[in-house]
């Protein structure tokens, strides 16, 4: 049988990779992809814990369901924003979207 640690370590590795993507990428869509990766990693964690510990309540599964749903909504909205950004500046390079800079 596969131990809980394996799932958790897998999820951690995926999370770190996703985080690396968020940090290092310039293209907004790729950042979005990395975020999705992180969300997926978290989902593994939830489900793994739920399967091993919480046998009756199923909260972890349901939570993951919600995460998936919200992630879908987020992707839709974020892509809308990215497209708007592209239309505005003809680029999806987020280094150029630095209006927040003093």
């Amino acid at each position: 049988m596969i131990a809980l640690e394996n799932f958790l370590i897998l999820s951690t590795i995926l999370f770190s990779i996703g985080f690396f993507g968020v940090l290092s990428r310039k293209n907004a869509i790729l950042i979005l992809i990395s975020v999705e990766l992180m969300l997926a990693a978290v989902g593994i964690n939830f489900v793994a814990f739920a399967s091993f510990f919480d046998t009756s309540q199923l909260s972890g599964h349901i939570f993951t369901l919600f995460v998936i749903a919200i992630a879908a909504a987020e992707v839709g909205l974020a892509l809308g924003i990215i497209i708007r950004l592209f239309r505005d500046r003809n680029s999806v390079n987020i280094d150029e979207a630095n209006d927040l800079k003093w």
Binding site: F19, V22, L23, S24, R25, K26, I31, I94, D95, A97, N98, D99, L100, K101, W102
Partner: protein, 636 residues
Amino acid sequence: MSIGMQQSWLLTLIPLTSFLIVSLFGKKLPRQGDWIVVLSGSLCFLITLLIIGDFQSFFHGHGFEPDGNNIYNFDWINIPNYLLIEYSTFVDAITVVMLFVVSLVGLMVIIYSIGYMQGEQRYHWYFSLLAFFLAAMFTLITTGNLLQLYLAWEGVGLGSYLLIGFYWEKQSAAEAAKKAFITTRIGDVGLLIGIIMLWRVAGTFDIQTIIQLAQESTFSDGYLTTAMIFLFFGAVGKSAQFPLHVWLPDAMEGPTPVSALIHAATMVVAGVYLVSRMLPIYTLLPIAQNLILITGLITALLAATMGLLAQDIKKVLAYSTVSQLGYMFVALGVGSLTAAMFHLFTHAFFKALLFLGSGSVIHATHKQDISQLGGLKNKMPITFVTFSIGALSLAGIPPLSGFWSKDEILLYTSEFGAIFYGLLLFAALLTAIYSTRLVILTFFGTPKDQEANDHAHESPKLMSVPLLILAFFATVSGFFIFPFVGNLVGFDSGFSGIVYLDHPHDFHIELSTMLVAISVSLLGVLIGYLYWLNADGRRAENAKEWAPEVRNLLLNNYYFDNFYQAIINKFILGLASIIAWFDDQVVNRSGIDGSAQIINYIGFRLKFLQTGKIPNYVLMMALGIILFSFIMVVNY
């Protein structure tokens, strides 16, 4: 209900009521309500007589023996085991003397004012203020506890402030009122400190209890001396003693009847009254008593010299008031309550008379400068005669009242020490000189201003009758020192039997001191006569050349005003500038705005962190997470 000593609170209530009525509705009342004030003044005089009658019934030849019915208590603030402040009245011999003086002079001044203030604007306001002042003054002299005394003390101060500033359109009047209030207020700081210091050890404000405790030497001498000196400081302020005498001459900006009432007969003697009241304690404390003596002596001398050259008729009188108050303090300083109260008694009448007389002159000529006056003796005979009686009484010519009381003070001082006696005699000489000068320059000689002289006329009856009554008292009140005169009005032993400190004593005449006093007074009058009468100003011209420095010194009142002004300008306002600068620069600019600017600067320096690149922000967040994780790991 018979009215006696216990009902002395009526004396506060009646004028206060009339003050409220006249000040609020005076404009709508017939004659602007002056009759209400006259009525209340008369009522007060009547009640005073009743109180004196009651007092007399407890007076048994060798002193006043009340059975507790001279006290009236009413709790004002009473929190058990904590603080008791009561409204209380206490009537004894000192109170009775003061009551008589205040109610009589008060009534005279009110009547006189009807004539003097005729046609003035704010007529009702003037009368309501008189009523207010009387209420406060009666409260002051009938009080049984120190806190109520302070309350009334400030009350008379307020009345004085408002009355000095009655002609507030004149900047000088406004300034004088301010000066009077602030100067006396500085004294009041001492008074309040003294009162609270006494409360701190005695636990009560009741005067008689405090005196009793002090006599049983419950308190340490040093502490008591400090407290009593602070208390005396209050008296110095109110009674215009050196070094706080500067306000009284300026206070003459007020209407003349007010000067007669407040700044001659009643309010300014409040300090004398206070020290007299507390004299049983002062006699235990030689340092405090010597301070009183020296202060009184300096004041008597200084003010007498200042009076010599003053040009304003009222200012001469003001200086003489300051000087005579100094006499009273000297008497208290040598421990003679009798002499001080007696001088207070006679001085009130002749000084009020002098002020009202000068008011009559001013009313007739609209001039106050004595160098502009002259030759009025035929135009205004009643004023002339009564004024002269007052002046001679001031100068100490027998048999007028001033002679007897001043002689009493001189007598006690001669017993105390030769130097004091000599200086006081010198002051008496000066007093005689300037009183003579005042009368001569005002009423004799040729008129300097013919036009004013032509218009001059004798004052109406409303003004001359009070003059005559006061002249009568200025003449006869001195005889009250003889026991047989006392018998006539029902007091067996005369004045010295009524007011005394420890034991009743008979009036005694030292023929030698009396003769010295008479000769000094006559010498003064003679000098004045020779110097100013028929001199056609020649000698005055000569005087300008003789010792101009001294002359300037006297004309500028020893530069006291300049000195105080300099202190205020340089020191107090300088300090205020420094603090205002401190507040503006240090607290505001550096402290408050400065901290805002520091944050602003830090932000400016740190803004490079704000790259606007989202990955950078996320990186920072990650760094934070790592830091946090490490802390967590270490903590576990």
